[in-house]
């Protein structure tokens, strides 16, 4: 947890890292020794000398066949480090859903609010990575600015970008759209190592190992860098944008973010709703349309149109 940052890129190092995941700097530190000595590895069960065995990729005793387990090459599953508290109680979530139903406009069934019944209300902490980073980005591209005879002219530059609290969803339970709507509703300063919320709240697990997680974070960072640099390239049209990204001071945190997932029933049909656990105004849900009301509206619109046309012609 409290490893000193990488001396080359000042990024965060986990306790089990052998090399910096960003720049490859070694983290191992040798201890001091004063004399030349020999050491023999002894089998713990029969005390015979052991030798490394290529077939087992571990030391093996030739007499009793015991295999010594080496320190694991670690690629642990990601785990949540801090949780954001639920500031919205389950009852408030139900109210939020009803308020949202009222705000839906005229083309929904009139009894939607009163005839709907919440079948299931699950408070859940969904998982996401949040990273801060700085990056020195060198770029080149062709653009239509300052061209001569050809349609394109070369452009290039180098600039420092900084990324603050970029959230990358790791959840499998919520859709990408749901996570992007929920994200701005959270106050990341409320993160704490203990989870505060309804006792029945479920904690989603990161179903991703660290190496894969780092790849996703790195991809997200490069994608965002490319988006930002895209706007920096002068001209109206551009092509062949190429980037070299030197990431430094990368700090990634693994958060659990509070949300309510609801299933409500209206006339036998089930609908899904997601509400932020920190903002009752953020409701993302499906709701039925009222075909009858839409038909009336269409008929009315056609009638008005015909009346206007009739008046104009008459």
């Amino acid at each position: 947890m409290n490893c000193p940052p990488c001396p080359r890129c000042t990024g965060r190092i986990e306790a089990t890292d052998l090399r910096c995941p960003v720049c490859g700097h070694a983290t191992a530190k040798p201890s001091e020794r004063a004399h030349v000595v020999t050491k023999t590895l002894r089998c713990t069960s029969c005390a015979a000398a052991m030798a490394y065995d290529a077939a087992h990729q571990a030391p093996r005793c030739v007499y009793c066949d015991a295999v010594l387990a080496l320190e694991e090459r670690t690629d642990p599953l990601e785990t949540v480090e801090s949780w954001l508290p639920f500031t919205l109680a389950p009852e408030d979530a139900r109210t939020a859903l009803r308020t949202w139903m009222e705000s839906l406009g005229p083309f929904r069934p009139g009894d939607l609010r009163d005839a709907s019944h919440v079948d299931e209300l699950t408070p859940v902490w969904w998982v996401a990575w949040i990273f801060d980073a700085k990056a020195l980005v060198s770029w080149t591209a062709d653009s239509d600015m300052n061209t001569g005879k050809a349609d394109w002219a070369p452009h290039g530059g180098q600039q420092e970008l900084s990324f603050d609290s970029i959230l990358i969803p790791a959840t499998r339970g919520l859709t990408f759209l749901e996570t992007s709507v929920l994200t701005p509703t959270y106050d990341l300063r409320t993160a704490s190592p203990t989870s505060e919320g309804p006792p029945e709240a479920r904690k989603e697990l990161f179903a991703v190992h660290r190496v894969a997680a780092r790849k996703r974070i790195d991809d997200a960072l490069r994608f965002r860098a490319k988006q930002r640099i895209h706007d920096v390239v002068p001209g109206k049209r551009r092509r062949r944008l190429d980037l070299s990204v030197v990431v430094h001071a990368l700090d990634t945190r693994r958060h659990g973010l509070p949300a309510y997932v609801l299933a409500y029933r209206y006339r036998g049909e089930l609908y899904r709703a997601v509400i932020s656990g920190q903002d009752g105004a953020c409701v993302l849900a499906e709701a039925p349309w009222s075909p009858w009301r839409i038909a009336v509206a269409v008929v009315a619109a056609v009638a008005v149109l015909m009346a206007v046309v009739g008046l104009a012609l008459g």
């Binding site: 191992a28 020794r33 590895l41 000398a49 030798a51 990729q57 080496l70 452009h155």
Partner: protein, 305 residues
């Protein structure tokens, strides 16, 4: 600070076997030994002032039999100009060696200049016909580039030249382990026999080449020429890594020296210098000349008639 070849950096040591107490004589460039009295495989640990401690090690993942199989398949698949007796070569002196290598990394910052070519089409009107032609407009271009240089491995052993190591690379560096004597127990492990400054220069050269390659790929436009760059390497690191190498001696003729064949101890990649058959090459050249002469003659005769 370059070490002259042939002179050992360190002295031989007398060390007591921790199994039976016998006194072992350990070669200066060996990190492991086997006690001749009790057959215990032992690891030699020296003060860090005398020899650098390995930081990482990659354990052998191919067995002796697998490596020998890979070598035999490799020998069989050599080209037509290989000496025939090489295909029947006997494999002698097989040895699995943990070879000292250096892992280099740095942050590279470059200032580059080049000429960028953008293609265009232009239309000319001559004698009432329109013709379009392609041309390239060249523009001078300068800029800055920065990138991390990682995973450069260079030899630390006089016994294995860098190009031989490169031929059996890459090693899966994602599977490195922190150095642990248990991984080299029972195997030959070498101490670095090339001095650090030499290896550093070697790694530095390779880093320079990587930057050049990266810059060529980085240039905008349809084409470019006259790319030049000045690069500084910051935060350089050089860590000692033991990599597994199988070494075979293939003897194909009693009067010729055996050919050394190296095998990557993880991936099984094989490299060696194949002895060529000069008779076969000479015959092929003669055959080619004869074919050319026949063709020329035929054409000549056809033209005269």
């Amino acid at each position: 600070m370059r070490g002259t070849p042939g002179t050992p950096i360190r002295q031989r040591h007398e060390v007591a076997c921790d199994g039976c107490g016998a006194v072992l004589l350990v070669e200066a460039d060996h990190r492991s030994t086997t006690c001749p009295f009790c057959a215990s495989p032992a690891i030699v640990e020296r003060p860090h002032t005398e020899t650098p401690e390995p930081v990482f090690v990659l354990g052998f993942a191919t067995t002796r039999e697998e490596a020998a199989g890979a070598v035999r398949a490799w020998i069989r698949s050599r080209g037509v100009f290989t000496r025939s007796d090489f295909r029947r070569a006997a494999l002698e002196r097989t040895e699995g060696i943990y070879t000292p290598t250096w892992l280099y990394g740095a942050l590279a910052r470059s200032v580059y200049r080049a000429e960028i070519g953008e293609d265009y089409e232009y239309v000319t009107l001559d004698e009432a016909s329109l013709t379009s032609e392609n041309a390239t407009e060249w523009v001078p271009f300068v800029g800055r580039w920065a990138g991390y240089i990682q995973d450069i491995v260079v030899t630390g052993s006089r016994a294995i030249p860098n190009d031989a190591l490169e031929a059996i690379e890459p090693y899966p560096l994602g599977e490195l382990r922190r150095y642990d004597a248990a991984i080299i127990a029972g195997w030959t492990a070498e101490e670095p026999t090339l001095d650090r400054a030499t290896c550093f220069a070697l790694a530095h050269d390779e880093a320079e080449q990587r930057v050049t390659r990266a810059l060529h790929a980085f240039m905008p436009g349809d084409r470019h020429r006259r790319l030049a760059h000045e690069t500084t390497f910051l935060e350089e690191s050089l860590d000692l890594v033991l990599l597994p190498v199988w070494s075979f001696a293939a003897r194909y003729h009693p009067s010729k020296p055996p050919v050394r064949i190296l095998v990557n101890g993880v991936t099984g990649a094989v490299h060696g210098d194949v002895p060529r058959s000069w008779i076969k090459i000479g015959l092929a050249v003669l055959l080619a000349l004869a074919a050319v002469a026949t063709v020329a003659l035929t054409i000549g005769m056809a033209l005269t008639t």
